[in-house]
């Protein structure tokens, strides 16, 4: 049962009391969205997007022209521009905020679900989104809606600037729109871009299980045409997302057999229908089970989550509580392979590793300078582990199937960074007593585990062993 603490959260730290009612402990964390536990500076998405604007404009409109004959000069000035706009700093700050929720907050269960949703509505590696706005999008759009309905989260994520830019909806122009006509007169060709529409169906809501057709995807793209950043000469593509009727495909659209009138309101109407489709709740229930419990969820596991969804109209706290309860009920039988980031956080929490730099250190950063080694440590570490949450390779996010994480190099990283982490611990936690207590608190078979790791004489090696045992890799 104690794997439940690692399954839905990150295990119990040395200061944590052992909950008398584990399930209640987990559920009680899911009602409210508390303030961030990070005590340092937190920027808004809009502020960060403006830094992105300054970078894009400076590079594209200024430097490329100025240094067209000077490769070295271009590189040098572009590098300066990177630092002037905080390109190497912001995502580190975001990771501090993110990881503090797992390690320092009263709501680690909420944090683990936050990571789930961030990955469900993934922003994958594109342009410099990761460096500027992905983290803020996950705070302001994803986390902020975790005490709302699923529908509200979809509505907001779909028209979030980062998502619109990520999935190219700015290139999605109705072929019969006013814009398409103007473009034609100028000899340019514009048309529909299906990316965002397809992912809204496939990845974010109903999934292919619902049986939509390619025509549904195109019709969905028509509905979405016109949702784009408000373009400006200086801000380029970084303006706020709005609905521009000149890009919108006129006429009635038909999606999954239902008709929608043309115009601004149609996107929201389609989303309402999508989230109420049975395939949507089945898909989300399956993904929650796959994240917490097993690579191959069963119908029985999904059932209570679907029920909670139906009863509450997709109210996320209720859906989350049902998922956590299923995870609890199946904790004896199933252990779930932990992705590298969650594994790192489990290790840091349980063994008291000072993973996150202090707010004081981060707030010392001055724009224009290269962040220090310490200020960049999280971003570097996650990349080394092969799992940077803002750099998924595809819009379907990072995999939560264990096969995809089985490779020699990825396991080597867990060995070497477990060792590194040991030396980041303070002295008082580098004792046998500390490990005995921690193992007792977090594992159902403490004597077996201690016997195994104690075959290594050196405490740092015992630490490496412990966090690479099957019991820890799979929780």
């Amino acid at each position: 049962m104690k794997n439940f603490y690692r399954k839905v959260a990150f295990g119990l730290g040395p200061e944590d009391e052992v909950p008398s009612d584990p399930l209640e402990w987990a559920k009680s964390q899911l009602n409210e969205i508390p303030e961030f536990s990070w005590k340092g500076k937190i920027l808004t998405e809009k502020e960060l997007r403006n830094y992105y604007r300054d970078y894009v404009y400076g590079d594209r409109k200024v430097l490329r022209k100025k240094f067209k004959n000077d490769k070295e000069g271009y590189k040098r000035e572009k590098n300066k521009l990177r630092h002037l706009t905080g390109q190497k700093f912001w995502w580190n700050l975001e990771l501090c905020i993110r990881h503090s929720e797992a390690l320092k907050s009263e709501t680690p269960v909420l944090a683990k679900l936050w990571y789930f949703w961030g990955n469900h509505f993934a922003i994958s590696e594109k342009d410099f989104l990761a460096q500027y706005t992905t983290g803020a999008y996950q705070r302001e759009i994803i986390r902020a809606n975790m005490n709302q309905t699923f529908e509200k989260m979809v509505q907001e994520a779909t028209v979030a600037w980062t998502m619109i830019h990520h999935l190219d909806n700015n290139d999605n122009v109705g072929p019969k729109s006013q814009e398409a006509q103007w473009a034609k007169e100028k000899g340019r060709k514009v048309g529909v871009n299906e990316n965002h529409a397809r992912e809204l169906l496939e990845l974010h809501t109903v999934s292919p299980e619902c049986g939509y057709t390619q025509e549904d995807v195109i019709q969905m793209a028509y509905v979405m045409s016109g949702w784009r950043p408000n373009w400006g000469k200086k801000r380029l593509e970084t303006g706020d997302v709005h609905f521009n009727g000149e890009y919108h495909q006129p006429g009635t659209k038909r999606i999954l057999g239902k008709k929608y009138k043309s115009g601004r309101k149609s996107l929201s109407a389609v989303i309402t229908d999508l989230v109420n489709h049975p395939s949507c709740r089945e898909f989300i229930a399956m993904k929650l089970c796959r994240y917490f419990i097993t690579d191959n969820p069963t119908k029985e596991m999904m059932e209570p989550i679907i029920k909670a969804w139906e009863k509450s109209d997709g109210f996320l706290p209720d859906v989350h509580k049902a998922a956590v309860e299923v995870a609890f009920n199946y904790s004896e039988k199933y252990n779930k392979f932990q992705n590298p980031e969650n594994w790192l956080l489990i290790m840091s929490k349980m063994s008291d590793v000072e993973l996150v730099p202090t707010p004081k250190l981060m707030d010392l950063y001055t724009l224009g300078l290269k962040p220090t080694h310490e200020q960049r440590s999280l971003e570097y570490l996650l990349r080394e582990l092969g799992h940077h949450p803002y750099l998924a390779k595809q819009p379907n996010g990072w995999s939560d199937v264990s096969d995809d994480w089985m490779s020699p190099e990825l396991l080597i990283r867990r060995l070497v960074y477990a060792k590194e982490a040991y030396y980041k611990k303070n002295r008082k936690s580098q004792t046998n007593e500390f490990y005995e207590e921690m193992v007792e608190k977090n594992y159902d078979n403490p004597s077996e585990i201690l016997k195994t790791i104690n075959q290594q004489g050196d405490l740092s090696n015992r630490h490496v062993m412990l966090f690479n045992l099957p019991e820890t890799l799979k929780s």
Partner: protein, 385 residues
């Protein structure tokens, strides 16, 4: 690095796999053949790497980017002068080029294009496996793939148990600890983990005193060559080279596009060095998402285009040649009036290569890897069959 594939295959996770089949390909042929793919990310400029000779349209539109002192390959095409290693291969009948080719993707997003170059599909993100992984599955090459990167590339998805090599900057724990973990995994019936730990333990014994190895492609390629050379080693390797997206200061011989081409060239050299004589039984191909515009832009760079070129190396090539159905560079011959057209579906080249290296009938690959798309079998034109 030492990867003991046969040990790897002994793990019980694979017993099931072997039970139903005769031992694949290797047992039936004496030669072990290798396929190496180098992914060139960002859009490789085929016309910078392999410029056409004496075309006024080209010279006019790219006047600041035309290279001096190119190496003449034949009456029509020249080679970028910095590709010295490739030219060496060419002179020994170990290098060839397919020109005016691309995957069937005509839009200009890196993001979508790189997805499609790896999946081999038509709709971005619709396919979740790579064409190479599917081809390997058809050839029953489980455990035979080696990625020289940390995350497994999408290109290799579709067959499990691939290996990867991308050295950590940190020192591995002692072998004794690794062996202990391996036995714990085995005791707990965690066969996948035990297999991985076996590979890791062997690898650690080979590393020299724990000093970290270089992640440079030239260094990775040498290691990969040594592995591919082994009869029990991997049969497929995948590299990545970034930086081809040169919107500005693409420059001439010393421009930014050249830097990436030189990196690609260093892979050819190191692979050859590592492979030794086994270069004879190897085929190396490049892969990119699209070429670049013919016209230079205001920043003396180029924009995203369409047709590009494929570099090929190795002893399984038929001969040194620039294989092309040249579409011409007059405005009306260009794709959308701006890009080199693609007259050969690049997937025909990759399907033919897999057919040659994996000894699988081309039609089966066409049908099962590329959904029966209309592809040409170019095996007899490009490769030794």
């Amino acid at each position: 690095m030492k990867i003991s594939r046969r040990n790897f295959l002994k793990g019980s996770a694979t017993t099931l796999f072997l039970a139903g089949f005769n031992f694949p390909v290797l047992a039936n042929t004496t030669k072990k053949k290798n396929l190496v793919i180098i992914m060139l990310r960002g859009g490789m400029d085929g016309l910078c790497a392999v410029p056409i000779i004496g075309d006024k349209n080209f010279e006019k539109r790219r006047k600041d980017l035309i290279l001096d002192e190119t190496i003449k390959l034949n009456s029509d095409f020249a080679l970028h002068p910095k590709l010295k290693n490739f030219y060496n291969l060419w002179q020994n009948n170990l290098g060839a080029i397919v020109h005016a080719t691309n995957i069937p993707y005509t839009k200009r997003s890196h993001f979508d294009g790189q997805n499609l170059m790896e999946t081999g599909g038509h709709i971005p993100y619709a396919i979740k496996t790579g064409w190479l992984g599917r081809g390997m599955k058809l050839g029953e090459l489980k455990g035979d793939g080696l990625a020289l990167s940390l995350p497994m590339p999408l290109l290799l998805r579709g067959i499990p148990s691939n290996d990867n090599f991308y050295p950590s900057k940190k020192r591995l724990p002692r072998t004794e600890l690794l062996q202990l973990l391996k036995s714990v995994y085995a005791d707990k019936s965690e066969h996948d983990l035990a297999n991985m730990m076996e590979i890791i333990a062997n690898r650690s014994m080979m590393s020299s005193g724990g000093t970290s190895m270089s992640r440079k492609n030239s260094s990775l390629a040498y290691k990969a060559g040594l592995e591919l050379k082994k009869i029990n080693g991997p049969r497929v390797a995948v590299f990545e080279v970034d930086g081809f997206d040169t919107h500005a200061a693409q420059g001439g011989i010393n421009g930014s596009h050249s830097d990436s081409l030189i990196e690609m060239d260093s892979i050819f050299k190191s692979l050859e060095k590592g492979l030794g004589n086994e270069i004879e039984n190897t085929l190396v191909l490049t892969l990119t998402e699209f070429g670049r515009t013919i016209e230079q832009n205001g920043g003396r760079g180029t924009e995203h285009g369409y047709g590009s070129a494929i570099f090929m190396a190795g002893g399984l090539l038929k001969k040194s040649q620039v294989y092309t159905d040249w579409p011409g560079l007059k405005r009306k011959e260009l794709f959308e009036g701006r890009d080199l057209n693609s007259t050969i579906d690049a997937r025909s080249v990759y399907a033919s290569a897999m057919s040659t290296v994996f000894d699988i009938d081309f039609k089966r690959i066409q049908k099962e890897v590329f959904w029966g798309d209309k592809l040409q079998d170019l095996s007899d034109k490009l490769f030794k069959i």
